[in-house]
């Protein structure tokens, strides 16, 4: 089932999207407590693809070409953020399909926490070092543009993406951090100060195959002029005009359409 997400006006200042992309189906998983699932579906549509709603308790991946695990507070974040979601029936299918390197999977915020709990990505998240809930437009450096989700960006470029979380401090042991750095698996790094104490300013990482990416900030909130951040790393924008997050979604669509 594809989901119709109505677009309000044509405020996006993105060049006309590639019509070939509409055949690419990107699933977005809804858990009890997911908040940004509709935003993620909308981001897929704005990038030119077809969003497919997936339900955590189902066993059917509905033939999607990629999966997004959205932000929010799955299962209320009881126990630990992402800990219970990991055992959802649909997560077992996603983990099986993604661990071999074939299915592209993006975890945003709570989705990133779920991916670490599912062992699709290393490390873990703990409370922000200042213990405050954080909500701000965050500048990030794109450190790896070879993943399934970042090929639309050039390496070393910067983006401005909103972030909002309580458990956003990325931690891992020194050996794991060295491995991530050595293998170029740090995908995004915080620029202009570390907002939450994350080890080595890490905001996003990928797995060995580059198909699974997790990041703390929310690219789906920076895809439409009129609703994004007030600034962009790609030049002047109108108020709420930043659409730097759109590249995440066009990356995976372009990669899949060229496969």
């Amino acid at each position: 089932m594809s989901v119709e997400v109505p677009l309000i006006g044509s405020l996006t200042d993105v060049d006309a999207v590639d019509s070939n992309l509409s055949g690419i189906r990107v699933g977005v998983v809804t858990f009890p407590g997911s908040l940004d699932d509709r935003d993620a579906l909308r981001a897929v549509r704005l990038a030119g693809g077809t969003g497919v709603a997936l339900w955590h308790a189902d066993h059917d991946l509905k033939d999607v070409d990629a999966v997004i695990i959205p932000g929010g507070f799955s299962y209320g974040d009881y126990l630990r953020a992402g800990a219970i979601s990991r055992f959802a029936p649909l997560m077992e299918q996603i983990t099986a399909a993604a661990s071999g390197g074939s299915l592209p999977v993006l975890g945003i915020c709570n989705g990133f926490q779920v991916l670490t709990e599912a062992h699709l990505l290393p490390g873990s998240m703990i409370k922000n070092n200042h213990l405050h809930f954080l909500c701000r437009d965050q500048r990030l450096a794109v450190e790896n543009s070879t993943t399934a989700w970042t090929s639309s960006y050039s390496e070393g470029s910067e983006v401005v993406i909103p972030m909002k979380n309580q458990d956003g401090q990325f931690v891992a042991d020194e050996h794991t951090l060295d491995e991530l750095e050595g293998e170029g698996r740090v995908v995004f790094r915080y620029v202009g100060g570390n907002p939450n104490g994350s080890r080595r300013d890490i905001a996003g990482i990928t797995n060995k195959h580059g198909n699974v990416v997790g990041l703390m900030p929310h690219p789906e909130h920076a895809v439409e002029a009129g609703f994004g951040p007030d600034s962009s790393a790609f030049g002047e924008v109108d108020v709420r005009g930043g659409v730097d997050g759109l590249g995440i979604f066009t990356s995976v669509l372009q990669k899949l359409v060229n496969k």
Binding site: L79, I126, N129, L131, V171, A172, D173, G197
Partner: protein
């Protein structure tokens, strides 16, 4: 009914932001002399029937797979307690 208690603590090398905040608040309330606070979790698993070795093994397994995340936490206790009547 007997209960199995599972204690989970943040690993010593992991900064514990909640414990740190509590440690900061204690002296403000006059509770001085505590050098550090670590905040963990206690789970109580109530058992119907007898606690066999198999039941205990299930509890240990649950403790390391779901109740704790081995990247950031240690299971420090898995122990049977009987209800005091």
């Amino acid at each position: 009914m007997p209960r199995i208690v599972v204690d989970v603590m943040p690993k010593p090398e992991i900064l514990d932001p909640q414990g740190k905040a509590i440690a900061g608040a204690l002296p403000r309330l006059g509770f001085t002399g505590f050098a550090e606070v670590r905040q963990g979790k206690r789970f109580e698993l109530t058992i119907e029937g007898d606690v066999t070795e198999e039941v205990l093994e299930h509890a240990r397994s649950a403790a390391t797979t779901l109740l704790s995340n081995p990247v950031i936490e240690d299971v420090t206790r898995v122990e049977v307690i009987e209800d005091a009547q």
